[in-house]
Subunit: 182 residues, 2 copies
């Protein structure tokens, strides 16, 4: 039976531990104007992201975070326990949408759910897990909806001690290649 | 006939100026280890993004940038002239993939192509434009492939001076709502 309860866990999870419907929730991140404008000045210097006053005259009706800033914060929340994958969170790619603007003063958290688990046919030590995540503000508005495919190690093959230059190496951190075939 | 040549232009383009097959190329950004680890410490603190030495023992075989860092740099390159959209680059969402790791020493640029132009049925002052972009390193490897839907103002309606709280206001910067319906 699918476990559909929202979970916080300190346990690191392998492919074998994940199933469709397993859910996770992250901690919270409080966003302020300084963070929004600092990110935007470096990566997305457009007035609606960098200038409180100029942003008022736009259709954003005020300062809004860059979508890529919302994505980056969401990643941080998942890395900090919101998505406890063994070997780290290694995304191969996915879809992202920003249905509501992220604003100064927003307190964000991420709710994630496993929507697909696919053991690799060619690499018995790994597989891919697709996770759908919603980043919500303090009012529950979805500021980002993302569906990302992750490379995840398998517990059983890890435990058998398989190593090598192109293998998962759990004893050295279980980190995975972001660009190799799954 | 479709214009399929790569373009750099200082002209800001409206929906009316864009057609399927129109292409753009950005300037270049040189990425170093300091940038990679600084971004990762804030947004994606995993050893393969933050620690040169620890990263060697992983399947990345060395330090790699966070995918969200590659995305953010790609955005900056597009904002800085790589995608000269009137009113700014306002993404509603899209798809992103990172087929090759981004490394210290990489020099990145973005090549973009318009793949769909859809005038809004309900809002005559705007429409959506879908742009497919490839971020490439100095060897031509694609480190990011993205397809993003953008909200873009129409020239004709802008010129007629339509304004209002939910309208594009070109005289005040032509900035658009990232969360309103197209």
């Amino acid at each position: 039976m699918a476990d559909t309860t929202v979970q916080r866990t300190s346990e690191l999870l392998y492919l074998d531990d994940l199933h469709v419907g397993r859910r996770f929730t992250s901690g919270a991140h409080a966003l302020d104007e300084k963070q929004i404008t600092a990110f935007a000045r470096e990566f997305d210097p457009q007035p609606f992201h960098t200038d409180h006053e100029a942003a008022k005259a736009t259709l954003f009706h005020g300062l809004a975070a860059s979508g890529w800033h919302t994505a980056a914060i969401s990643m941080r929340l998942q890395v900090d326990g919101g998505l406890p994958i063994a070997g780290g969170i290694v995304g191969l790619g996915g879809e992202v949408a920003w249905p509501t603007a992220t604003r100064p003063g927003d307190v964000l958290h991420v709710e994630s759910e496993v929507v697909e688990v696919v053991p690799s046919r060619s690499r018995p030590d790994r597989g891919t897990v697709t996770v759908r995540s919603e980043t919500r503000n303090q009012r529950g508005d979805v500021v980002q909806a993302a569906t990302v495919k992750l490379l995840v190690p398998r517990r059983s093959k890890m435990d058998s001690g398989i190593e090598g230059p192109n293998e998962v190496n759990d004893r050295q951190g279980g980190l995975l290649c972001g660009s190799c075939n799954s």
